[in-house]
């Protein structure tokens, strides 16, 4: 009976592997030497389907398709909001064929998880995209503008319940905390409720279990379209095309906040290796494939490399640390 069993298993496995290969969209065996044939690895610090996964896999796919790199071996290194992956990247000192997709959430997670790994220790390669955060309320919420919210919030911080899709240290958490600080509320008094992603958060908002949701607006497309949820303001420098709401600055609050995603490499790689990786992602950024991916996912292009990204990364690291320290979380 062993053959029967084995063949079933085998069929299943072969099928899966075949599907995976097919879908990682390579299939082409490229011969010869040279940059375009170098096999690379990519760590993704969360599970398949998550934000870093979508960004990372999209980038890997575009790089492969445009023949800017060889095949990518993409690995999801899951755990502790990205801290596990971050630590593993730092352990790979000097390895020059490895990159990791990451973003603001990973910066926060390294602090809240008491990890010694810091994003500032890795080699910055590129910032790829940005996502704005939005303040979202149910249709019949008493808040019509951000000012209404801020007034009620200042009068009694505990009267406003804010929900978000990320755990303490993540973007949905950092945004209301920094907002509170900007308008003069002690972040410690902010009532923040963690929901397990966009779905449960939507459900809490629709059921009016919480007053305000802090999250990226793309997860609420349907509800915003039919009017069951409203956006009070978005957090970026400029308005979003897709969302009919003012920015915080337009609403009289001097603050911007963006959730960003980018690419890091292990520490201790040579300058040439770094330049090579930067050049590769710069080329990728110019492809139509990448611009399509940005459009399809509703991201904002915010490509930056070199000095600019390095400075940005350090500034973000500092800002997150300050916020979390004030809250006693770092």
């Amino acid at each position: 009976m062993t053959p029967t069993r084995r063949s079933h298993r085998l069929t299943a496995t072969v099928f899966l592997v075949a599907a995976a290969l097919l879908l990682s969209a390579c299939g082409v065996t490229r011969g010869g030497e040279g940059e375009a044939n170098r096999r690379l690895s990519m760590y993704i610090p969360n599970s398949p389907g998550g934000g870093y996964d979508l960004t990372g896999r999209a980038a890997a796919r575009v790089l492969e398709d445009a023949e800017l790199s060889g095949r990518f071996e993409v690995t999801n290194v899951i755990g502790a909001g990205g801290t596990v992956a971050m630590q593993r990247l730092l352990n790979e000192e000097g390895v020059d064929d490895l990159v990791m997709s990451m973003g603001l959430g990973v910066v926060g997670a390294t602090y809240t998880n008491d990890s010694k790994a810091r994003v500032s220790q890795a080699t910055p390669i590129a910032r790829l995209i940005e996502d704005q955060e939005a303040l979202i309320v149910p249709k019949d919420s008493p808040f019509q503008t951000v000012q209404d919210l801020v007034d009620a919030w200042k009068a009694d911080p505990s009267s406003v319940t804010i929900g978000g899709g990320s755990s303490p240290g993540g973007p949905d958490f950092l945004f209301p905390m920094q907002l509170a600080k900007t308008v003069g509320i002690d972040p410690k008094q902010v009532k923040y409720i963690v929901y397990d992603g966009g779905g449960p958060l939507t459900s809490a908002l629709l059921g009016k279990k919480i007053d305000v949701g802090a999250s990226g607006p793309s997860e609420f497309e349907g509800q915003l379209e039919d009017g069951s949820l409203r956006v009070l303001a978005v957090s970026g420098e400029e308005r979003l095309e897709t969302v009919d709401a003012p920015t915080l600055k337009e609403s009289g609050i001097d603050m911007t906040f963006v959730n960003w995603r980018g690419i890091l490499a292990p520490p201790g790689i040579s300058d040439e290796s770094r330049e090579r990786l930067v050049a590769m992602f710069t080329e990728m950024h110019k492809t139509k494939g990448w611009q399509d991916a940005i459009k399809r996912n509703g991201w904002i292009d915010s490509f930056a490399t070199g000095e600019e990204f390095e400075t940005f990364l350090l500034e973000q690291d500092k800002r997150v640390e300050t916020t979390l320290k004030e809250l006693g979380l770092a």
């Binding site: 299943a12 496995t13 099928f15 389907g49 979508l54 999801n76 502790a80 459900s203 497309e221 979380l329």
Partner: protein, 504 residues
């Protein structure tokens, strides 16, 4: 009856050669990933997400739905045959299913799972067609206090499965709750011993595979020389009349549990499978067979997990609200076509929605056609000589634990918890309460903390919702009934039974 006409149009669209092909691929892939432990439908869909760039929305969604249903079914195969549940929703199936397999009734267990999944999936899809447009808006009214009450009810029901020795049952339950405490659900690392790999808690699949498969393999290895080989008898290949008679009611009851829980934002598939198991155990004509391979204990939970998959689609299609990881990825797929999800989906994309619903019926039928003939074949797997069989079990157990998060650390965890499983068998602790503790503990805590956070610590929030009050009243009534019957006929503990638990 408007819905039915639209559904017929949906069938016309779903039955094109191309879409049928994607349905077959989806069902096949789904069954495969269900069989392979650790690789769940959510992960498969996420990895297949890029396919949405190259095929039309109807084909992609039809395939995804096939994977979802197939995965829900496929998980039962390894649960029954190898005692290695591939998904958290098929953990309960392993309890009776594997006992049936050991008695030479693997084919019947697989068949009742296949037919039960078909029945539940079909009824569930029918309910989805009839109710999705109207009821979905209601589910969001249930807040954390109601969810807390529902989970408390589930935990209360555990007392029914504590086994003959209450003390051992409670020990197992608290062991499970303790394992469930690991991790950082509250934002602070708890019981992680400074290890970030424990920060997200211990995955239920790792615990279940360790307790069931590793624990048993070690137990068998420890007794290999002392006990004669019990040969697994070769049973009948098909379900007998009696099997049918004992299966159909659990199928229906399982559906009744699964569908509403699937539709609830905090529902999922684990709680209904386990409620179904407890109910069947209470209602069974032969309760003494439970723990030794009762067909009801497979039929009910398997129906429940497929019905919950259908239930999940209610809020997804009707208000664009994903309640499980798999549903969240399906939503991503829909959105990647630029289709607006939400209450208007039924109006703006009727073709797509009804083709999807029709393909669910087709997918269910395909699943039955695929799996029923395979059941006797799968069952013969158990004829493999024991050393090879257990080597295979250990291999699949390790594969399953590893693929949960691709961390070698989980393999170490698997061994440690496997040793706990061995010790539990040695000391006659029932395994089910432990598994339930691991599943329910973190959920209960999450709902409680969120309720209290929202109310700023005001405990009265817990009975502020009507559903919660009804559930508490039900628990109180049940408690009174138990106490009353306990007073009337105090029955002594039956120590004889404990041997059975040991061999469990």
């Amino acid at each position: 009856m408007d819905s039915l006409n639209l559904l017929m149009d949906g069938f016309a669209q779903a039955l094109t050669v191309q879409n049928l092909f994607y349905a077959v691929v989806g069902v096949f892939l789904g069954t495969a990933v269900g069989v392979l432990p650790g690789i769940g439908p959510a992960m498969t869909l996420a990895l297949l997400l890029p396919i949405t760039y190259s095929v039309g929305p109807d084909s992609a969604l039809i395939m995804f739905a096939g994977i979802y249903y197939g995965g829900m079914y496929g998980g039962s195969t390894t649960s029954i045959l190898l005692n290695t549940p591939g998904e958290s929703s098929s953990v309960v199936t392993a309890i009776e299913g594997n006992k049936m397999a050991k008695k030479g009734r693997a084919a019947q267990a697989l068949a009742t799972a296949a037919i039960g999944s078909f029945v539940a999936g079909t009824i569930g899809t029918l309910l989805l067609v009839l109710f999705a447009p109207s009821v979905a808006g209601q589910v969001v009214k249930l807040g954390n206090p109601s969810n807390f009450a529902l989970i408390l009810l589930a935990l209360f029901a555990v007392t029914a499965v504590l086994g003959t020795s209450r003390l051992r049952g409670f020990i197992a339950l608290f062991l499970g709750l303790a394992i469930g405490l690991v991790g950082g659900q509250t934002g602070q690392a708890r019981l992680t011993f400074g290890n970030p790999l424990l920060a997200d808690g211990i995955d239920i699949v790792v615990v279940a595979v360790a307790i069931f498969a590793i624990g048993e393999a070690l137990w068998v290895a420890a007794h290999l020389r002392r006990r004669p080989l019990d040969i697994i008898p070769v049973g009948q290949p098909w379900m007998s009349r009696e099997d049918w008679g004992r299966s159909w009611k659990p199928w229906l009851r399982g559906t009744a549990f699964g569908f509403p829980f699937g539709a609830l934002p905090a529902g999922g598939a684990e709680i209904p499978t386990f409620l179904s198991y407890v109910t069947e155990r209470k209602l069974a004509k032969h309760p003494e067979e439970f723990g030794k391979g009762a067909i009801e204990g497979v039929a009910g939970p398997e129906a429940a997990n497929n019905a919950s998959a259908a239930g999940t689609l209610v809020p997804l299609l009707a208000i664009g609200l994903p309640t499980t990881a798999t549903a969240a990825i399906m939503l991503l797929a829909i959105q990647s076509y630029g289709i607006e999800t939400g209450p208007q989906l039924f109006d703006t994309e009727p073709d797509l929605v009804w083709a999807l619903l029709a393909s669910l019926f087709i997918g269910n039928t395909l699943l039955l056609l695929l799996n029923l003939p395979l059941a006797p074949l799968w069952a013969k797997l158990l004829q493999i000589p024991r050393p090879y069989l257990y080597a295979g079990i250990l291999f699949f157990a390790s594969l399953g634990a590893y693929s949960v998060s691709f961390q070698p650390f989980d393999l170490a965890l698997l061994l440690v918890i496997g040793l706990l499983g061995l010790a539990m068998r040695r000391f006659g602790l029932p395994v089910l309460p432990l598994i339930i503790g691991v599943i329910l503990g973190p959920k209960l805590e999450e709902q409680l903390t969120t309720s209290l956070q929202i109310s700023s610590g005001d405990v009265s929030t817990l009975w502020s919702e009507p559903v919660a009050v009804i559930v508490y009243a039900f628990i109180a009534l049940a408690l009174v009934a138990i106490l009353a019957s306990g007073l009337r006929k105090p029955k002594p503990e039956a120590p004889v039974e404990e041997k059975e638990e040991v061999s469990a």
